[in-house]
């Protein structure tokens, strides 16, 4: 009985589904990041409603981690046929590899999203004083994103390497 339940839970497919979930939680980072930046943006726009557009640009930047997470989650779903309603049977190894593939972007996404949100928030403070320097604020914010991009790349290469 127990082995049956264990087999039911610990098979390749559930592991791959776990990978999808892990990749998608990168959105936590983006939610936090966009939220932090949004708080700063509200403060700045309260002073000068004309800065709405610029603040919005900066606020959007930490949103990408969620997209990267979605990207990997979607790719894993495609690979295991979860979207067509005709899932493939995966071995434990395949499932585990796909699960691992979700970890880099899932984990890095959370922390880099939060960090990027803080940088974006200070970038919004920057444009409240010097709106002409928005590009610098954006570049500082993009510096953080580099690590999310690298994690995305590794997640993607791991996903590539799994043959199903």
């Amino acid at each position: 009985m127990t082995t049956e339940v264990a087999n039911l839970i610990f098979n390749g497919n559930t592991l791959a589904y776990l990978g999808i979930a892990i990749a998608a939680i990168a959105g936590i980072g983006s939610a936090y990041g966009v939220g932090i930046a949004g708080q700063a943006a509200n403060g700045v726009v309260a002073e000068d409603p004309g800065k709405f557009g610029q603040a919005l640009l900066l606020q959007a930047l930490p949103g990408t981690q969620g997209i990267y997470g979605l990207l990997i989650a979607f790719l894993i779903m495609v690979k295991i046929g979860a979207l067509g309603g005709d899932p493939k049977d995966l071995t434990i190894m395949q499932g585990a590899a796909l699960m691992m593939a979700g970890i880099p972007i899932g984990l890095v996404g959370i922390f880099s999203g939060i960090a990027q949100g803080k940088t974006a928030a200070s970038g919004i403070m920057l444009i409240s004083k010097r709106p002409e320097e928005i590009a610098k604020g954006m570049v500082y914010t993009a510096m953080v994103e580099t690590y999310a991009v690298l994690a995305l790349l590794i997640s993607f290469l791991m996903w590539m390497s799994v043959a199903v």
Binding site: A60, T64, L70, L71, L83, V139, T146, V149, L150, M160
Partner: protein, 662 residues
């Protein structure tokens, strides 16, 4: 190409010609007049000259400008006319401008009229506020059925007031009854803040009653401005508000009837701005009793025109080239393809006037990287067409114009990479053909699909990055040689070229077996020579032990080159992001299957999804393409810190006066 050469202009002329010369210089708009504060503290000069300037006139024009600006603002606020998406200056000929300015007195009257309407409107709004506040203060007393004018009789004083909501009204009344038995109290009403009481105090008991009032923090409320019953007062407040609202809408209507004069006001505004600027610039001039003195910078290509003007005005002048190493204002000059990318350079910081304008070196890479990161032909087409429409529809100037032109080129690059990688709204065509027509249509990429062969694109990205970086290092070497330090160029760039190229050759030969043994060995020796060279020369600025550690430190920089190259992996990653997110939305749209409902779902997913994807990913491509220039490329050589060339010109807000080229 690159940074315009500047000449230093010195002019001495007769004071009587000053105003007309200033007017002509403003029209030319090519001379940056510099402040001469240093000369005023210089002993040799101080005895001869004094600062020119006419603060009084400047203040006078400032005052008028702010009035006209306020009138324009009022008209814009209440006008029904549609505001354009992008505000541009109106181009007019001098004749037409003068014709409008002939009516200056009339236009000024209009401005005053609009301002007085606006003042009346403010007044009416204030009165509305006051009436509303009064009504609010009366509302708790609406059940009080005595006249507000009645405040005392011979023996009784009428006191209105309130105790905080937290106090117990019954307790208050019983306490009052106990201490002042002949006092009547009536609870008129309560709200969430207070209980409102009307008290009829026997004057003889007043002191005792006052103690109770103090204990309960009773606050007296008086209505000196009202007479009669409360309900009547409330009514009259409401009536007043209504009348005032009527007046308000009439005033707004009146303001609206003036809206056709807004363009005239804009002409007046800019006319005044030019007058002010002509007075303001005088603070940068020096004067004696009969002559004035000015210094400034002129781009060399415009020197002829300025000299011609100065000869006509019979001024003494001298235009000399900037001394070697002297800092001049920076004006970037580039050809039609490169100049839009000056906006990227400007967003970072202008180059040092003695340095190098990086724009022509990175503009091609900028568009290339942007295109690779967006890499969808349909998106590229949208950007290209949108920028073309904006350029056609609006008369853009300055940074805005440059930015839009830059995105035009970036759009074209995006189309190019989209075709190469086979992205047309992601895989929209395949999905639509499959879902609605049951056919299999795949548009083959011209080169390859990055999703199927990401390693190739990753390596390609690294190669592009290496070329980009090597170009930056090459520029650094070029600048060293230009400054007469060829050895620095060899030590700081040459050895690195040797080391990096050698290392790549060696690794390609050893690990991947791409090269034969001879090139592999050559590579190894190149790398060794480079590394030894760096080790020996890296610490040459330092002394003693520092020379050795300095060399080691320099060699350790190899990690930074590694991370620089790896940074270009974003070209692949962001390109994939665009493609996969498109696919996500297309798949979402196809989930409802074929048929009318399916088409509806597809349409929604298409519009919402691709708008979002285009917006977020073009933002990403813009930012990351900037980053690759700013951090990786500029980091290798760029010296920034120049001051922008800011000529004395017609710096107007609404109108641009066109001049016929002579």
């Amino acid at each position: 190409m690159s940074i315009a050469r500047m000449e230093k202009l010195t002019v001495i002329g007769l004071s009587k010609d000053r105003d007309s010369l200033m007017e002509e210089l403003m029209r030319l708009g090519v001379v940056q007049i510099t402040a001469q504060d240093a000369k005023l503290t210089d002993d040799e000069w101080r005895e001869l000259v004094a600062a020119d300037g006419n603060e009084e006139a400047v203040a006078k024009w400032e005052g008028q400008i702010s009035r006209v600006a306020q009138a324009i603002e009022t008209l814009q606020k209440y006008s029904d006319m549609k505001k354009p998406l992008i505000r541009t200056r109106l181009a007019v000929r001098q004749r037409d401008f003068d014709r409008v300015m002939d009516r200056e007195v009339e236009i000024r009257k209009k401005a005053d009229h609009v301002l007085s309407l606006s003042d009346q409107l403010t007044e009416v709004k204030n009165r509305i506020n006051r009436a509303e506040t009064q009504k609010l203060s009366l509302l708790p007393w609406k059940d009080y059925d005595l006249s507000l004018s009645l405040t005392e009789t011979k023996t009784v004083r009428v006191v209105l007031g309130a105790i905080p909501a937290a106090s117990d009204p019954e307790g208050f009344r019983s306490e009052l009854e106990e201490k002042a038995p002949d006092t009547e109290s009536e609870l008129v009403g309560s709200d969430k803040d207070q209980h409102y009481f009307a008290l009829f105090l026997l004057k003889a008991e007043e002191e005792k009653a006052n103690e109770v009032l103090r204990d309960f923090s009773f606050s007296r409320i008086a209505f000196p401005e009202f007479e009669g019953m409360v309900s009547q007062c409330i009514e009259s407040c409401e009536k007043e508000t209504e009348e005032l609202l009527q007046q308000e809408s009439e005033l707004i209507k009146l303001i609206k009837t003036e809206e056709q004069y807004e363009p005239d006001l804009e002409f007046l505004h800019d006319g005044l701005v030019m007058k002010r600027d002509r007075q303001k610039i005088r603070s940068r001039l020096l004067k004696t009793e009969s002559v004035f003195y000015l210094e400034g910078w002129v781009p060399r290509m415009a020197v002829d025109r300025v000299e011609m003007l100065l000869r006509v005005k019979e001024c003494w002048y001298e235009a000399v080239e900037a001394r070697k190493g002297e800092e001049t204002p920076v004006l970037l000059l580039n050809n039609a393809f490169n100049s839009p990318f000056e906006s990227v350079t400007r967003l970072y910081a202008l180059p040092d006037s003695r340095g190098l304008d990086p724009t022509p070196f990175f503009s091609f890479f900028y568009a290339l990287f942007f295109g690779m990161m967006l890499s969808d032909a349909a998106y590229g087409l949208i950007i290209t067409i949108a920028t073309l429409i904006i350029k056609k529809k609006f008369r853009l100037e300055g940074m805005m114009k440059k930015m839009i032109s830059m995105f035009f080129y970036c759009g074209i690059a995006t189309i190019f990479w989209g075709v190469m990688f086979g992205g047309y709204f992601g895989d929209l065509i395949t999905v639509v053909a499959d879902t609605f027509f049951g056919k299999e249509v795949v548009i083959q990429p011209l080169w390859f699909n990055p999703l199927e062969d990401p390693m190739t694109l990753l390596i390609f990205s690294f190669i592009l990055g290496t070329i980009h970086l090597f170009l930056g290092m090459g520029l650094s070497a070029y600048m060293s040689i230009k400054d007469g330090r060829p050895l620095d160029a060899l030590f700081d760039v040459g050895f690195w070229y040797l080391l990096l190229v050698g290392l790549v050759m060696f690794l390609c030969g050893k690990m991947a077996g791409l090269l034969g043994p001879v090139p592999t060995n050559i590579g190894m020796w190149m790398a060794v020579i480079g590394a030894v060279g760096i080790l020996l020369t890296g610490g040459r600025d330092k002394k003693g032990f520092g020379r050795i550690t300095g060399g080691l430190g320099s060699l350790y920089n190899i990690t930074s080159y590694l991370s620089d190259v790896l940074s270009y992996s974003r070209l692949l990653a962001l390109g994939l992001a665009t493609g996969v997110i498109s696919t996500v939305f297309n798949t979402l749209g196809s989930l409802a299957g074929g048929g009318v409902l399916g088409m509806f779902a597809m349409l929604i997913a298409f519009v919402v999804g691709h708008t979002y994807n285009l917006a977020i990913n073009s933002l990403g491509s813009f930012v990351h393409s900037c980053r690759l220039q700013y951090v990786e490329f500029f980091g290798k050589f760029y010296e920034s810190g120049g001051e922008a060339f800011d000529p004395f010109s017609e710096n107007t807000k609404y109108i641009q006066i066109l001049r016929e080229e002579k």
